[in-house]
Symmetry: C2
Subunit: 663 residues, 2 copies
């Protein structure tokens, strides 16, 4: 149990052998030496008519001396070590989950998807023949022989950096050692005696944030998560300004590379310390990042990614040694980078696809990961397309009059009363809605510092819903008559969101006509890219929307749709998944098959170069409107203000011209 | 010609294609692009009845524009580029040696053995598709595709350290690059454009001397040879004293490792400078050395090699990256170490076997490589045995009253007149024999400083031949009566080899009873080891003796045999081969198949541990006599002084006891 496998084995076989014979894989590090305690099983007692047998603990040999010793030290609680207990008569055995090899874990809390733990790194314990006079074989050759005899591992190599400590480890462990293997091909660590524990780190190198998940490679548990701001931010928020820095400063690139390596080393140091480990305990790393971060991490100058034709140095998955990158993990530790899809669609997007698996869905799924560029993934199990659309940094609060990065004090939620045009808002770090005039009711230190990305989205959408701006994004002169918050002059129009009393600067926080325009341009680029992929996939509607990345986590799907940032869709089917790229890296860390899968994904997904698409400009122009000049948004029915007379006229014209071209 | 291959090909085929079709392999780096000029052939003119055809240069297409350009720059001298010339009618083609792929070179001047040039490193020239908007493939992927299409190379990897310069190399060469491959598996260098030249270094790390041969990997030529004293000599002449140093000094081992790496880097720097190259041009290194040097080179503390059971950390051949050892060659350059046979039989001995191939001979060959330990290799194509015998450093001049290392001023040749007992000698650095009393005739600055290894051998042998010492190595009291050069007292006896006038110290240079004893012990160890292997091989005589190493180059085979340092053998069959270990490293550098062969040799040769052999002590004692207590030396018949009465008696007894045991 629980597999239900059943069979006869020779009397005297131990339970580990019996399980293997019946195709039930049990955990084992020590290889049946009654040492590691990983193969614990529960012996059922009683008559089991369904199984046609009577089972009793006495039907097994009594505990061996080694097993009793293990029991005393670790308390088996009535369980037996499968490698110790020999079968004397019928038994019914339950294999508890923790003793099953290839355990499954929930890949993502939200989605309840399971993945099998099958990391590239595993540990085995071996007993090695000691050297003898007259036996000229080296220590490594005797370790290799033990690995072949005891674990059927063949043609192994050993990382040359392990050779210096080989003999002392063997002697310290009295010729018993725990060997850590990479891909069952290369020995990457040798520890004296029985020494359980293999750990890895999944890293998502974002333009703004670098996140490291420290994982137990045997259980799949995340032992610590550590994040830091990408230190390159000081050379520019967006990737293009970093590339400019590299090109303008002679040592610029070398500095950037060193910075990112240093901050990853610090993350690993902190994460391992949290889990009472050291960086030396890490033998595997999986990293993802956008193409520029991927290249800088590898020591490749990303300049070519800044100019057409956006040539990548390499797009395949990469396996290399951590020391060759300067990563301070175990000296023989490995690094795997997920593949890249195209010049603007990086390993982070492959990570997203690994985590969200649009390529396995029946439903048409749209995934948008918004940063300086928006990466768009669209498709289902038949075909997936990806594109990158140049949204610019407006969604991140840049290029917005009072825009700022998401940080305490930033306005992240906004509501505008459609009748009074009075605003309410929420700032990061304070839980309650703040209304104009409420300054007496909230702590005096709560003041707004600016508007972050999610705030901007809501602000523009609310301005539209309240009829302050029209579907073309223009401030309506009439709205200035409705409220003193709206200022309307020729060439200058704005809405006062925060009065000076609630602003940390002492000046009002406003949303200007230029801000609206900036968001329109950004959202049009995103929408047009999405439409391009919908055209490639020959569909007119999508079933699900996944908002990936930090930005996606905080924006309101409703407001995003009102703006026409995403196409129309059932709002219940719009979900934010947070750092899906990091999730993908973690999955590839825990399961080596997923690395192959990532490579397949990168090869089979079709990349669409947006600037090459002939209809991109048309789509872009149509998408400037809120939510769109012509695409229907049935899920917003009754919510949106009526289109202006002018727009209605245009629509009629379009329908007429279509009719004409048909006839 | 000269292969004699013959056949029909479609009209219009070029000669390179035709050669490939007929199984004649021509050199080519550019892959048929009329660039490299490696496939030059000679077009025969006239009627050739044997071949049944009339050949004429006009039967080929006229030179192409590219070919004419090549001719102008490099002068083809009437030859054609096989990749340019198209066949229009019958032709007879001669492929000159330099255009043949897998050229053979003489492996060793002396033996006239040939080896095929087939290095682990090769260069190919490819033209790569430039990046294009809409084509998301990386530069590496396009290089890999070009290598597959143009050279049928598949599943290549690229060393990660090449990634940073990949894009600039491609651009500098306008997407034409010369790619250097290791084992047709890994790309280790990418140079812009067509860039001919791949080079490697063969290194023999001796206890005393480190030698580097810089080789052209395409032609097999040795471009420079550079030697230096092993800097570790300052911590002890012999290996055991170096191990003691390591154990007594906390930083001793790290220092030793750094020293040897540093001096190898200097050797490579000097050798490449001689050949107008830089260390960056080196992409492959093959190294050999005794087990202690091998371990220190790899960063492995050799302490275990100093105590029984003399456990090696690793004995297999090793492939690793030069940068992981700290070798300053090309950043992605490779290092190969030949395998080790046993705790005292190192990669240098495998090199010797690769160079001398006893395992392929019909004759029973004995190879002795004398240093602090003597390594003994004995066998033929049926079976080869190896052993190491603890001769101590006497043969190197240590432990000898006036012994010294071979250096200018050291006595290297000695003759003693059997009648007058007057000596003649030669010192290193002066070409003529010097006799006692000749001080007026030779330049005053020529003075003897001591006796080196080869001098000691001759001295003891001459003392024996002149009847000054007997076959047991004892000074004969009677000889003191024959010459004043012999001093004989109870407990003290010596022979004055150099009078004080000819000695640089102003004191006479003498050979004492203790010196004779030291050489007896050393030669007995060597001889006993040899006998042990002869016993294993079940033979009583050998056909050939090869003296390997610097020591072997200078000693007189005749005197060595008189001493009983080697068994009886036809003196014409005793040869010194110099640095055979270094030769072996060079061969493995030039031909990758020989690396596999070296691994086979190391696996199939049988190692005999001398201290374990029960009869070693008996053999040792019998071998203390000059030349031996009982073994016959028919090739010295009539040369040796008659055995003393005592020895004759012993021999009779032995013959009698043999007779008895038979009956």
């Amino acid at each position: 149990m629980p597999s239900g496998r059943k069979g006869s084995v020779p009397r005297g076989s131990n339970l580990l052998q019996a399980a293997q014979e019946l195709g039930v894989e049990l955990e084992s590090i020590c290889g049946g030496r009654q040492t590691c305690g990983k193969c614990q099983v529960i012996i059922e007692s009683g008559h089991f008519p369904k199984h046609g047998l009577t089972s009793h603990p006495d039907h097994l040999s009594p505990p061996s001396p080694l097993e009793s010793e293990y029991d005393q030290e670790h308390n088996l609680n009535g369980r037996r070590l499968a490698c110790a207990a020999e079968i004397l008569a019928d038994v019914l055995i339950t294999v508890p989950e923790e003793s099953q090899a290839h355990k499954q874990i929930i890949a993502k809390e939200a989605t309840q998807r399971f993945i099998e733990i099958d990391p590239a790194i595993r540990q085995v314990y071996v007993e090695v023949e000691p050297p003898e006079l007259g036996d000229p074989r080296g220590e490594w050759e005797r370790i290799a022989l033990a690995l072949e005899k005891q674990w059927s591992l063949q043609e192994l190599t050993i990382d040359s950096k392990l050779l210096p400590d080989l003999q002392s480890s063997l002697r310290a462990g009295d010729y018993k050692v725990t060997v850590t293997l990479w891909q069952d091909k290369e020995v990457v660590r040798i520890q004296p005696g029985y020494s359980e524990g293999s750990y890895g780190v999944a890293i998502d190198i974002g333009s703004t944030t670098v996140v490291a998940h420290l994982c137990d490679l045997r259980t799949g548990d995340v032992l610590a998560t550590q994040a830091t701001m990408n230190p390159q931010v000081r050379f520019g928020e967006d990737l293009m300004s970093r590339i400019s820095y590299i090109n303008s400063e002679p040592q610029g690139f070398v500095r950037m590379n060193r910075m990112i390596i240093k901050s990853i080393n610090e993350l690993i140091e902190k994460a391992t310390a949290k889990a009472d480990l050291t960086p030396q305990d890490i033998t595997d790393v999986v990293a993802v990042g956008n193409t520029v971060m991927h290249h800088i991490f590898l020591g490749i100058n990303p300049t070519q990614l800044g100019v057409a034709p956006f040539a990548l140095a390499i797009d395949s998955p990469i396996d290399l040694k951590a020391r060759d990158l300067g990563l301070s993990i175990h000296l023989s530790g490995r690094v795997h980078l997920l593949p890249i899809i195209a010049g603007h669609v990086g390993a982070d997007n492959v990570g997203v696809m690994l985590a969200e698996s649009p390529q396995e869905q029946d439903e048409i799924t749209l995934i948008v990961d918004v940063g300086t560029n928006a990466e768009i993934i669209l498709g289902d199990k038949n075909k997936v397309y990806v594109a990158s659309s140049p949204t610019g940094p407006a969604f991140e609060g840049a290029q917005i009059t009072h825009g700022q990065r998401a940080a305490p004090g930033a306005i992240e939620r906004i509501r505008i009363d459609p009748k009074t045009l009075e605003p309410r808002f929420k700032v990061i770090g304070y839980p309650q809605w703040i209304a104009s005039g409420s300054n007496g009711l909230i702590p005096s230190e709560v003041k707004a510092t600016g508007i972050c990305g999610s705030g901007i989205i809501e602000a523009i959408a609310e301005l539209f819903l309240a009829g302050i701006i029209d579907s073309k994004g223009h401030f309506l002169s009439t709205s200035a008559d409705r409220s003193s918050r709206v200022h309307y002059d020729v060439g200058e129009a704005y809405y006062v969101l925060v009065d000076e009393q609630l602003s940390s600067t002492g000046s009002p926080i406003v949303i200007t006509q230029e801000d609206v325009r900036a968001i329109q341009l950004a959202k049009a680029a995103l929408y047009a890219g999405t439409k391009l992929l919908m055209d490639h996939r020959s569909i007119t509607k999508i079933d699900r929307v996944i908002l990936a990345g930090a930005f996606g986590t905080f924006i309101s799907p409703y407001h995003a749709m009102v703006l026409g940032l995403i196409p129309d869709c059932d709002l219940d089917k719009v979900n934010a998944v947070g750092n899906a790229a990091g999730d993908g890296a973690r999955l590839a860390l825990l399961n080596k098959q997923l690395r192959l899968k990532a490579a397949r994904i990168a090869r089979t997904v079709e990349y669409v170069e947006t600037p090459l698409a002939t209809n991109f400009q048309d789509e872009f122009v149509a998408a400037l409107n809120l939510p769109h000049a012509s695409d229907p948004f049935p899920h917003l029915d009754g919510v949106l203000p009526l289109p202006t007379v002018e727009v209605q006229k245009k629509r009629k014209n379009r329908i007429r011209s279509k009719y004409r071209s048909r006839s």
